[in-house]
Symmetry: C2
Subunit: 329 residues, 2 copies
């Protein structure tokens, strides 16, 4: 395992320092406890959106802090849940008096710690639990489905709703709606290596792929022989479309997400294959996003996410966003 | 070698199709001959900026086509120069009557083919040759220094100048100025694998790094034992600052560029180390960019680029840009 790091214990601190410095116009970074928030903190009267989770999935979540998306993010150690004190401190910094919406990927540690934070928080809060991964029903770190790249779609769309002034109940309901309309599946060509472990999280043969892999290297649906992208993507799309009960005629957001170690050249090819699967089902790809957004360190592989869009969701997706990782409008 | 591709011969066509479809609001993609241009083509009276080179460095160059940056890009096969007929066809599509500026990375094949295109073009043209790589004086595919990530800085700053109406001579002179003010150096932790070759371009031991590697895996200054990022980055910064004759007091743009397979977590740590080297020399990091912009397929590693900024260059860097890979202002 070779990584551009210094001491294993300092990776997160040093990386977040760099992140804060590089994006000083957008974010503030606090080191103890660790949180990242919008520059200047929260806005009075606005629902505060806070997410977080283990590090190693960058730009998720800190890269999505900024106008039109998250108010704060709480990074845990690599693949390790953040703690309630981080979440509480972040909430104090960004609470604008209209309540806090926690956006939580469905992993046992995250769920437990965000629940504790919600209990300890004096003000009102609600939680959106994301579980868009259609690959498996429960997994190493989760009861029920895992939350993966669809979380970004939730953060973007609900972020825009909070920005225009939707209240806490409306933001929470919208988050549930977007999560339910979203399905994802990933594939791994290689494992990732957690810095503190110093070795690959799992073994995968030179001729094998893991279909339905989790973003921490958790097992997927099956291990199979490497084959052309067309077949791999077709199977992922079939799993997603079946889960979402796609009937044709839908407008969808198509997100092709790199796991961190796969070049854009391949991600755009995966995207092209995914659009073929949409066309074959009579689905219209109304919005697209291609890149490394919810990663697994240096894992090679990709995931595909579909979100069935309605007019409101589409308009909120298009709304302006100013973060380190997404910037438009 | 595992890649998310179908037949090796179809990689580029299929990937570009996906790219064009995902960014249909920004670009047009032509397949034969291959070029990518701004949606709607060139603008009357504006200098047309055209770049290109081998594929495998995505998002370079097609990801930088759009308002405020390139008018067109000509992608060759992976790590292979595009041909003059691509460049001529692109020029015909985007020429606005104010001349064409070719932005060419200094590799023998690119230089030769862009020269041929310039000779064949009926209208006026000029060339900016980028050679920002301070690692070696000449290399496998180049006489003189290689052009690497500094090319992006040239494309952004000259792109903004062309957008505001600077003429061909002014754009060419500005490009020379930015290139001369820029220095880069890279490090590889792993090799890349060209799809058609099917195996790693070079061998690198588990405990080794290649200091000063080229973006096609060309040899650098030396191969050395893996060590903490602090020392690696300090040596890269020393090489760059010495080449740029930094004396202290300068404002710089600091670009930390991933080679394609290194996670953002590490790139921000590299950025943090690079800012320390700037602070130690009394240099002010006035602008920053961190991410995968000039890649070498799935190579693990990073490069650092410094550009000494003056007020005009800073303002042009800040000017609005709307491309697949850069979007701000």
């Amino acid at each position: 395992m070779k990584k551009l790091i210094n001491a294993v214990d300092d990776v997160l601190t040093e990386s977040l320092r760099g992140f804060g410095r590089a994006h000083a116009g957008i974010v503030e970074v606090n080191e103890d406890p660790r949180w990242v928030c919008r520059k200047g903190g929260g806005r009075q009267g606005k629902v505060a959106l806070i997410s977080g989770g283990g590090s190693g999935h960058e730009p998720l979540h800190a890269g999505f802090v900024g106008t039109g998306m998250l108010d704060a993010a709480c990074p845990g150690q690599v693949f390790t849940s953040p703690t309630p004190d981080q979440m509480l401190a972040a909430a104090e910094r960004v609470d604008g008096g209209a309540g806090v919406l926690w956006i939580v990927k469905n992993y046992a540690g995250d769920v437990m710690n965000f629940e504790l934070a919600a209990e300890m928080l004096e003000g009102e809060s609600a939680t959106v639990l994301t579980n868009d991964d259609v690959a498996v029903e429960s997994s190493t770190h989760s009861q029920g489905r895992r939350g993966v790249a669809g979380t970004i779609v939730v953060e973007k769309i609900v972020g825009a709703a909070a920005e225009r002034g939707d209240d806490l109940a409306a933001c929470a309901a919208l988050g549930e709606r977007v999560n339910k309309a979203s399905g994802s599946m990933g594939v791994a060509l290689t494992s990732c290596s957690v810095p503190a472990a110093g070795k690959p999280t799992f073994e995968l043969g030179e001729g094998e792929v893991e279909m339905g892999v989790g973003i921490h290297g958790e097992p997927g649906r099956r291990r199979e022989a490497m084959r052309p992208a067309a077949g791999i993507v077709a199977d992922m799309m079939e799993a997603i479309c079946s889960d979402l009960e796609v009937t044709g005629g839908e407008d969808v957001l198509l997100l092709v997400n790199g796991m961190g170690g796969t070049p854009l050249l391949e991600l755009y090819l995966v995207y092209e294959e995914a659009t073929k699967a949409c066309a074959a089902r009579g689905i219209t790809v109304a919005r697209s996003l291609v890149g490394n957004y919810c990663t697994s360190l240096e894992m090679q592989g990709a995931s595909v996410t579909l979100t069935k869009l309605d007019a409101e969701m589409t308009a909120l997706w298009d709304a302006p966003v100013r973060t380190a990782a997404l910037n438009w409008g």
